[in-house]
Symmetry: C2
Subunit: 145 residues, 2 copies
């Protein structure tokens, strides 16, 4: 059971979810892992400029919480792969909703300038369930690479 702190601040599931996810970086890291299929330290959130000690900490917390799993990289002994668990995959809907809201109300003028092509944003609104299923499948496929 993922919990950010040892003692949850309340028994509200939203507040408890935010004990783990409620900070400036955690969901950005998960965006990379869950939607952009990034799996190794040096690929994650680099363009957003996260500090390396913060990234270490977030990957550690997410691993400890059971959202990600850490495995040795079979292709490079220096590397590790962070792959999403079922619990992690279940956060994809949250990320899709944030993407929809962010692209509607945020200063990101053109959706196509972001992480994903414009088509994704349309589908997030009009074909949400299928899009989520597709992200889940892509994430699963990336893990057996």
């Amino acid at each position: 059971m993922p919990t950010g702190k040892d003692t949850p601040r309340s028994n509200c599931p939203i507040a408890c979810a935010l004990d783990l996810l409620g900070d400036r970086w955690t969901l950005v890291v998960l965006r990379d892992v869950l939607l952009a299929q990034r799996r190794v330290f040096s690929e994650i959130a680099v363009e957003e400029g996260i500090a390396t000690n913060t990234l270490t900490d977030r990957l550690e917390r997410l691993t400890e919480a059971g959202v990600l799993e850490r495995r040795p990289d079979p292709r490079d002994g220096r590397s590790r792969r962070y792959i999403p668990t079922e619990c992690g995959l279940d956060l994809i809907p949250v990320l899709v909703d944030l993407m929809v809201w962010g692209s509607k109300y945020t200063s990101v003028t053109a959706p196509e300038s972001g992480t994903a092509p414009a088509e994704i944003f349309d589908r997030a609104v009009n074909d949400r369930d299928a899009l989520i299923a597709e992200f889940i499948k892509q994430a699963r496929d990336s893990d057996s690479e």
Copy 2:
């Protein structure tokens, strides 16, 4: 257009959304306003123990971002009412998804011990769109009180 900082850290809509929403308290505050129909300072997040200066700051940021609107309270001149804008109402899906994830994976053992009755959690999974529509309606109705 809501932006947490003057300069967004990236042009990804998820990262930009998190510039405003990505911290320990903002979404808890919005949970109270959007799902629990709390509208005044002294009712919001009290049971979670947010510091008053932090609550002031979050309400200010959300107001400035156009997520909430601040109005004088017609019933008490000392009070103000924070009511959600359209932009704010559009965050309800995010909160519902967080609730679903939190109640599935968080140490909140029984959903009924949280903010809402158990029925809500079932509907969030099985009847999501209708539940969201209902929350939107409730939020709108609470504002004309």
